[in-house]
């Protein structure tokens, strides 16, 4: 706030509104954190009051009942290999589609763009059937499903970005004797870094937080699924449930905060061009 900018009443009103909106959005998260530190009786009686004393039994219970280390490893593996596969496959596909000017490439690209409007719920039932037939109903099995489900958006975003990479760079590489794959991975792919970062972050958040696909295919084993056990038909363990929410969200929040500057930059530079 060093430089004394003129603060018009409109700007101040806008700032106050934005701060109010930010508080409204952060409040539920703080509410969960607050209640994760209280015994169940206190949560039911005084859900808003701050914890009377440090109470960590909820976290111990959530940690053991979720089998947190194993579950975290499962979610981590799915997210890393899911996002990695999407980035590799979609960047190659989008590059080739953007550089090829044939009717077929147009049809294929349109198919990817069209798939953007299909919600997951529409393909949910056939996916479960296919998963059973192909023996993909496991933690490892859902990774290739994410490759397919994430491809439309990633291809769409890469396709728009590849157009901004000058062809001359590849021609220069070809003259120096680089093969197609060499020139893609050493020349083009590094230039796609901003959009790669954006897609990586968006897809990491999506896969980490995804509930429906693991629920219908594997039913247990990822962080989002293991939280369910604290909401029974007759029993609600709000304390451990809140603790499990904090435990599952913490890694991806740290990841998001660490890469925040790329998110804003990448979305601003990449997605709009489409």
């Amino acid at each position: 706030m060093k430089d004394e900018r003129r603060r018009s009443p409109a700007l101040i009103t806008l700032e106050v509104l934005m701060i109010a909106a930010a508080l409204a959005f952060i409040y539920p998260a703080l509410f969960v954190l607050n209640n994760a530190l209280k015994p169940d009786a206190d949560i039911t009686l005084q859900p808003v009051a701050p914890p009377a004393r440090l109470y960590l039994a909820n976290f111990v219970k959530a940690w053991t009942e979720m089998r947190f280390p194993l579950t975290l490893a499962n979610t981590f593996v799915v997210t890393v290999f899911g996002v990695g596969g999407i980035l590799l496959g979609s960047s190659l596909a989008a590059y080739k589609l953007a550089r090829t000017q044939t009717r077929l490439s147009w049809v294929l690209y349109s198919a990817f763009a069209f798939a953007l409007v299909i919600p997951f719920q529409i393909v949910m039932v056939p996916i479960v059937g296919l998963a059973t037939d192909l023996h993909l109903s496991s933690i490892w099995g859902i990774i290739p499903m994410y490759w397919g489900l994430g491809a439309p958006l990633a291809v769409f975003m890469y396709h728009g970005f590849v157009k901004s990479v000058p062809r001359e760079l590849e021609e220069a590489a070809a003259i120096d004797g680089a093969g197609r794959f060499y020139s893609f991975f050493r020349v083009v792919f590094p230039l796609l870094k901003p959009i790669t970062a954006t897609i990586a972050i968006l897809d990491s958040l999506w896969i980490w937080n995804d509930f429906l696909l693991p629920q219908v295919v594997v039913r247990k084993g990822t962080l989002q699924l293991e939280q369910m056990q604290f909401y029974g038909m007759f029993l609600r363990e709000y304390g451990p449930a809140a603790a499990s929410l904090i435990l599952s969200a913490a890694p991806i929040i740290v990841f998001y905060l660490a890469l925040q500057k790329y998110i804003i930059k990448g979305i601003a530079s990449g997605a709009v061009k489409g």
Binding site: V117, I118, P119, Q121, I122, V123, M124, V125, P126, V128, G129, L212, V216
Partner: protein, 52 residues
């Protein structure tokens, strides 16, 4: 049941009631609705673009 969104209705049919056929039929209807809405929107947007 009166306030269940279509996608949740599909989920309940497919995985709670085990009526995969009914669920996929509803999914097709949802798909057609989306295609119709997206198609209309795209046509309208394109027409407006030309006028400007």
């Amino acid at each position: 049941v009166g306030t269940v969104p279509l996608v949740m209705d599909i989920f309940f049919d497919a995985f709670a009631k085990r009526l995969a056929g009914l669920a996929t039929a509803k999914a097709i209807l949802l798909f057609l609705a989306i295609v119709l809405i997206t198609g209309t929107q795209l046509t309208v947007m394109k027409r407006r673009e030309v006028q400007q």
